[in-house]
């Protein structure tokens, strides 16, 4: 089953592309929810590279993915709760006018 090894290069390449798309999404969109979605996408890209390299470094790669997922879940939960609170206050989730924390 060494063919999985052969896939290492393309997998890492794909993870790079997905990560860039995620970043583009974060920069492009003003809606906070979509922002979170893009962050999730970036996390998935990272998971992909973890998995790809797990073939070389053993199962610890996959354990990492496992942890990344738990963190992502926690982050999503808290983030969305914050968004709910903001929405209740501002009636909008547009990033532009959530700027109270400034110099």
């Amino acid at each position: 089953m060494t063919d999985g090894m052969a896939l290492l290069g393309p997998a890492l390449g794909l993870s790079a592309i997905l990560f860039s798309i995620g970043v583009a999404g974060v920069l492009l969109r003003r809606n906070v929810i979509v922002l979170f979605v893009c962050i999730e996408l970036m996390l998935n890209a990272v998971n992909l590279s973890f998995v790809a390299l797990a073939q070389l470094h053993g199962a610890s790669g996959q354990v990492m993915v496992f942890f990344v997922m738990t963190v992502a879940a926690a982050e999503a939960a808290v983030g969305l709760a914050i968004i709910l609170a903001i929405f209740r206050h501002h009636q909008s989730v547009d990033l532009q006018n959530i700027n109270l924390l400034r110099g």
């Binding site: 290069g9 003003r30 979605v37 998971n47 993915v65 808290v78």
Partner: protein, 185 residues
């Protein structure tokens, strides 16, 4: 043959990801992301990480994305609101994302052999098989213990402490979410 399958799913993942960031409404963005996740699950299988693929589908695609859906519907953001930033933001995005992609795309040419040669100090040792024995052991484990066992052993032995910490993390997240989201305590 495996490459072909890989590239198909890779293409699907890229398309769905692009559609996700370009979609007009939040609802469609979430759904496209779910599709990307599923295609990734398929790729995990190709990379002989079957257990992770399952978890991906169950936990990530299932639970987290559903949570997103809930929030989107709760705030009835479904209708299309073009929240795309202005042309200036578009330009910066292209520049930054482009640069990032170029930088990271160099990873595409990383074969195990090249990785080994870079990692090993002494040039004569740069045979990937000997250096990355751990990968082979893991695969033998998977065969002997089954896919889930191969992941479970390091999870509960080597990484036991981080595992417990994540549980505390999740507890904190739950409490946080409840406190923040409730209207009046």
């Amino acid at each position: 043959m495996l490459e072909a399958v890989f590239y198909v799913f890779a293409a699907v993942a890229v398309v769905t990801a692009s559609m996700c960031i370009l979609s007009r409404s939040a609802m469609s963005a979430v759904l496209w992301l779910t599709a990307t996740m599923l295609s990734l699950a398929a790729l995990y299988v190709l990379l002989s990480a079957e257990f992770i693929a399952a978890i991906q589908v169950l936990v990530y695609a299932g639970a987290v994305m559903v949570l997103f859906l809930f929030v989107v519907m709760l705030l009835n953001l479904g209708q299309a609101t073009t929240d795309m930033r202005g042309p200036a933001a578009l330009a910066t995005t292209i520049v930054i994302a482009g640069l990032l992609a170029i930088q990271l795309f160099a990873l595409w040419s990383y074969t195990p052999a090249r990785l080994a040669s870079e990692v090993a100090q002494a040039p004569q040792l740069s045979d990937p098989a000997t250096l990355f024995a751990a990968g082979q052991i893991a695969r033998d484990e998977a065969v002997s213990r089954g896919v889930v066992g191969a992941v479970a052993v390091p999870l509960f032995q080597v990484y036991l402490v981080p595992f417990e910490i994540t549980s505390v993390l999740l507890l904190a997240a739950i409490v946080g979410a409840v406190v923040l989201a409730k209207r009046r305590l």
